[in-house]
């Protein structure tokens, strides 16, 4: 049995869905951020798959850019989380950031 590109795309789609479900299901902000990382990785997997299928290096360049944006997102997101926990003390969940004004 030969592994086709579609298999990788299916794994990417499932990974994206699991990440999206985690963002909606979990209440811990740190875990929500990890689920966003899952979704970004699913996108990266699809990019690499299409880069090979279409024999186009642009897909792999795009993965580089996604990696950098993900790193920036983690830095800012974790800084926001630290700031929230400093205000609300322990046990802060996503509900504590339901207002933009805090």
């Amino acid at each position: 049995m030969r592994v086709t590109d579609t298999w990788y795309l299916v794994v990417g789609a499932l990974l994206f869905t699991i990440g999206a479900a985690g963002v909606m299901l979990r209440r811990n902000v740190v875990v929500i951020l990890m689920c966003i990382e899952l979704m970004l990785n699913a996108a990266n997997l699809s990019f690499v798959t299409f880069a090979r299928r279409l024999d186009d290096v642009t897909g792999q360049v795009a993965v580089f850019f996604v990696l950098v944006v993900a790193a920036a997102e983690v830095a800012v997101g974790l800084a926001i989380i630290v700031a929230i926990f400093r205000q609300r003390r322990a046990g802060a969940t996503a509900d504590d950031i339901s207002l933009l004004r805090g």
Partner: protein
């Protein structure tokens, strides 16, 4: 045959690890599951002619980003099991329904040629040679690359500005400004000073 075995192992680790991230009660366990997912995705990269991206994935993601996650978890002291109870009554079923709908949507969109059939510059991958990737990154995509450098600097500065304790050294601060909980803060005076500053 080798590719099939690699695909099976990496696929099981990827999806199992992803479910583990979502269902772990302890955030530390979720972070460790995330490492498994990231390494398995790196295996996918190796199989699919992207060795450089696999290395970057392991170095940047599986090490740096996850260590950052663990560092923040330990710093905040949330490294203990938490209840997975959901106070909102309809949140769970609605979230699962939306997730299933999203999966169907992804498959439908991905299966259509009007979203995936377009091809840019065919024949430029050359077997995943890192030199070709680097050449494209520094010639054709130099401008986005430089913009990303600016983005990283902005993100670092923003992270420092957000995480800095208010009024510690540099005077006014925007984190614990209006609407914060100054009463709970030990340094209530500095919080109100920040409020006055904004």
């Amino acid at each position: 045959m080798v590719e099939l075995a690699l695909f099976a192992v990496a696929g099981v680790v990827t999806l199992g690890g992803a479910v583990g991230v979502v269902l772990s009660r302890n955030p530390v366990h979720a972070a460790l599951h995330l490492v498994a997912v990231l390494v398995a995705v790196a295996v996918f990269f190796v199989v699919q002619d992207a060795p450089l991206l696999a290395a970057v994935q392991v170095i940047v993601y599986a090490s740096a980003v996850v260590v950052l996650f663990l560092f923040v978890i330990m710093l905040l002291g949330v490294d203990r099991a938490e209840t997975l109870e959901e106070p909102l009554r309809l949140q769970r079923p609605v979230a699962l329904a939306v997730a299933v709908g999203l999966a169907i949507e992804v498959v439908l969109l991905g299966g259509h040629t009007w979203t995936t059939g377009a091809s840019g510059r065919q024949g430029t991958l050359s077997g995943g040679d890192p030199a070709v990737l680097a050449e494209n990154l520094f010639t054709r995509y130099l401008w986005p690359f430089e913009v990303l450098a600016v983005l990283l600097v902005v993100a670092v500065v923003g992270g420092v500005a957000l995480a800095r304790r208010s009024g510690e050294r540099l005077g006014t601060d925007d984190v614990e400004g209006p609407g914060g909980a100054p009463a709970k803060e030990p340094g209530a005076g500095t919080a109100t000073a920040g409020e006055a500053g904004t």
